[in-house]
Symmetry: C3
Subunit: 371 residues, 3 copies
């Protein structure tokens, strides 16, 4: 398909939907990689994946393979999955536990879990070769509320500065100690921005999610973050304890929450790749991995109170399955949007008042794309 990318349109903002190039153009996708994904702090997962020293998982992020591990001292670290000798990819398993070191399978170069090169056979004859100069390339890492954030830039903006608007916002939710119960990967044939726009409005809930609309009305809530990289608010739960098929809570509350939070779901977009949804009895988060203008891998994960497991009232599937169905309904709409904007007849159209957050997402996105 011929795309008609006109740079002068790129930074028009307003209350209309984005023009079609933003969803189709490989050039714009490349600019997004450069100006957004390899420049900003992005969520890589929750610390409960690597509870003990030596535990690791391998993350595919924006064309990079990254080893995320807990080192011998219990410290979280992230390294590019690339040997410093011949550039070989080292870890093939998606997760596991290192004994005390990482060894490249090709020529047996060996690294400690804090990244130092500690073994390099047959390199003695190489002039000026010094093991200290060949540690694994590290990726910047920051833990926030139990979530692992990474940054691929050389000189990233300080995390605390970027996250200032929400740094302490979720203090009461026990996020650092929650335990993951399930992680579902979805292969969505749609641009990642459709997924953010979809998450940020419930205008579509009555036609698309009848099971959700019944217990949480699209007009029941209020937004408290309206502009910028972090946007969202709450919606009320009415006639049910939580968002589950049964309508009953599927676990003990995730924390000692104030009464009003027991009847609400909080939904926040955390640019550039995280959606955080706080329910009374579980926390759901999505992380998005754009693969091309037309494809996004989404990982959705559900966290519960660390003491919930094993209790008779612990029924996590009641909430997980509810959202798994809801997720799939959303992805389907995103995929129809992707197909639709591929038409030469598509023109940007006005957003409704119920779509104020998608419009805010678009504004912030265009702002980030400005070099």
């Amino acid at each position: 398909m011929v795309t008609f990318y006109r740079p002068e349109q790129m930074f028009l903002s307003g209350s209309k939907t984005l023009s079609r190039e933003y969803y189709l153009s490989p050039e714009i996708f490349n600019i997004e990689q450069e100006r957004i994904f390899t420049r900003q702090w992005f969520c890589a997962g929750h610390v409960s994946r690597v509870p003990e020293a030596g535990h690791y998982f391998v993350l595919d992020a924006y064309g990079e393979s990254i080893i995320i591990l807990r080192d011998q001292n219990g410290e979280m670290r992230a390294f590019y999955n690339v040997c410093r000798h011949r550039g070989t990819f080292m870890c093939e398993e998606p997760e596991g536990r290192f004994s005390k070191s990482i060894q490249c399978p090709y020529h047996a170069w060996t690294y400690s879990l804090d990244g130092r090169l500690i073994g390099a056979p047959l390199m003695k004859g190489v002039q000026d070769f010094n093991k200290e100069q060949f540690p694994l390339h590290a990726v910047r890492l920051q833990i926030w509320e139990g979530f692992i954030f990474l940054n691929l830039a050389r000189s990233p903006e300080p995390f605390e500065q970027v996250f200032a608007p929400i740094l302490d916002k979720f203090k009461g939710w026990n996020l650092p100690v929650l335990k993951s119960q399930r992680r579902i990967p979805y292969d969505v044939k749609a641009n990642w921005k459709f997924i953010f726009q979809n998450y940020n409005e419930c205008y579509h809930c009555p036609p698309v999610h009848p099971q959700l609309a019944r217990i949480s009305s699209y007009d029941s809530g209020e937004n408290d973050l309206h502009e910028g990289s972090f946007i969202g608010g709450f919606m009320a739960i009415d006639g049910a304890d939580s968002l589950t098929y049964s309508g009953r809570a599927c676990s003990i509350p995730v924390a000692d929450l104030p009464e009003e939070d027991l009847h609400r779901v909080y939904y926040y977009s955390i640019a550039p790749n995280m959606l955080l949804s706080l329910h009374p009895d579980y926390v759901m988060f999505h992380i998005l991995w754009p693969q091309s203008p037309h494809q996004t891998i989404v990982h959705c994960e559900w966290l519960f109170h660390p003491e919930a497991s094993g209790r008779p009232d612990f029924n996590p599937d009641d909430g997980i399955d509810f959202w798994d169905e809801t997720n799939r309904q959303d992805w389907h709409m995103c995929e129809l949007s992707q197909k639709g904007v591929a038409s030469r007849s598509y023109r940007p159209s006005p957003y409704s008042p119920r779509e104020a957050l998608p419009a805010a997402f678009d504004r912030n996105y265009l702002e980030q794309m400005r070099d």
Copy 2:
């Protein structure tokens, strides 16, 4: 593969085959989209697919999804399959029947069958929003001899003007009232132009189609349209009633034909995407959907007299299967041609006198490609 596209070669015509770039180059394929397929009237099918009000089918044409329907007043209409709100793809079923309206599944915007926006929930607060300004985008449509023709251009050349050379040529054939008996899609791994060239000569019939050559000799006919967008002529049927496996007619004649037409097949190319083959007892037509320089989807459909069905002498498979085999033999040759011209050693070569129509096709094609 590296292609060597030299624009100065582009408009060389004559009696030699086209240079290889025309079959391989994505750039030339894009120019074809721009100068031919999105500019000219193309065939979308036969009206017998949508006999009654509300009936529709969805056509994939040149990167667009188009809803073709018969509205409440029985009028044929065509719309881009794109909601005017967020650009969502609306119809997912390839064909069906609308009750009275088309509803977008995402936010429930609703359109009448003549394309007006009649429902747009929650848009009241939008300043200056006016439903009259958001009808479905229409595609220009013209019915000719029962065939639906569309045009994606803003200001298309008038149909009657373009089709003047053949406007009344097929008046005697009952085409508007014939009924479709079968439609077979083929996925051909070859450039669309090879399919036109192949259709326009029977030099290949003895080696490729022994079952056809036996009853319709390559040198038995005569062309009556020699140049331009419409070319073709007839071939004689000898020692058989029609082109069927049994050699017998497989249906009553499609119309009250003059005696000589009962022993002929008429073959016409109708640029840019239709092949029309009129037999005494059935009409076959192909429509071509180029997907890339290397791939063409072909739909072949067979039409019969509306009163043939149910009669004891109605044996449509006898003709359909005969051509299904013949089609596959042709596609195979087109695919071998596609593979062959990919060689750097390929050079344009002289056409034989038996290939006058392929040469005329090439000339007209190059003329259309001239901006």
Copy 3:
């Protein structure tokens, strides 16, 4: 993925690994086609594939399909698999035997086995048409030590001049009369240069090939060709008769070899696509067919003494299976290298003294890429 191809880096040589663009960039891959693969003599196989007049095989090489045959006079010839009439691909079978001619399936043009057009039906009316002017396009062919070499250039450098350094080097090995016992194709998801680099060092043998390292130590040999298009040397076999699973010879010696050669394996890279490995009891050769920066098809073939077959001590699988496993271990390392250098974090690093030949390969490669 965005590649950052900086031409000024292109010709830096030295003792560091190549920069990542050489393994990733489609532009560099195209330059390789132009400056290396369609310019140099490359190996197409061994003459034992076409023992008698009429025997042929079809080779896919650098985007071309080439018919390699033995003509009526027993002479080896190579032709592009493209009919001179409409450019049709003629031979679809990967190998077989022609009776006396090659016939195009489309319009039945017919060629003798030495390439002359001997039949062209219905071309009589074409002005100035002369069958002598339309022979099959020939590909330059040279037999060296029983191996078929081809060249796609218009004016290739003379074979004897290019191959001067090794023209008579293998005289004692009976190569022209050996018989092929097996040919295994591998689909390797790695750049072809990784395969050459891997072949040219045994630093990786202890970690990657324990079964090989046990009987042929990485430091047991010596190189005798150190620079240029032909590099290599020998490694000792110790505690076994040959490289087989049993450790015993799997066939009679390929030739009347001097005593010391009965305890050695000779490994030579023959640019741009051949690896030649001479064992006492069999000769193995690989030919490489780069498909993209990320994919290489490798054909590995094993040759034995013509009188070995049928003897009780002939156990070819003992050596073939040994190398099939070893090959797969190597391809896996090449694939991990391909994945690793895709990282933006990869930087060229120093080669060890044990990697002198990979460094020489890189230098010669960069030299060839200089226009």
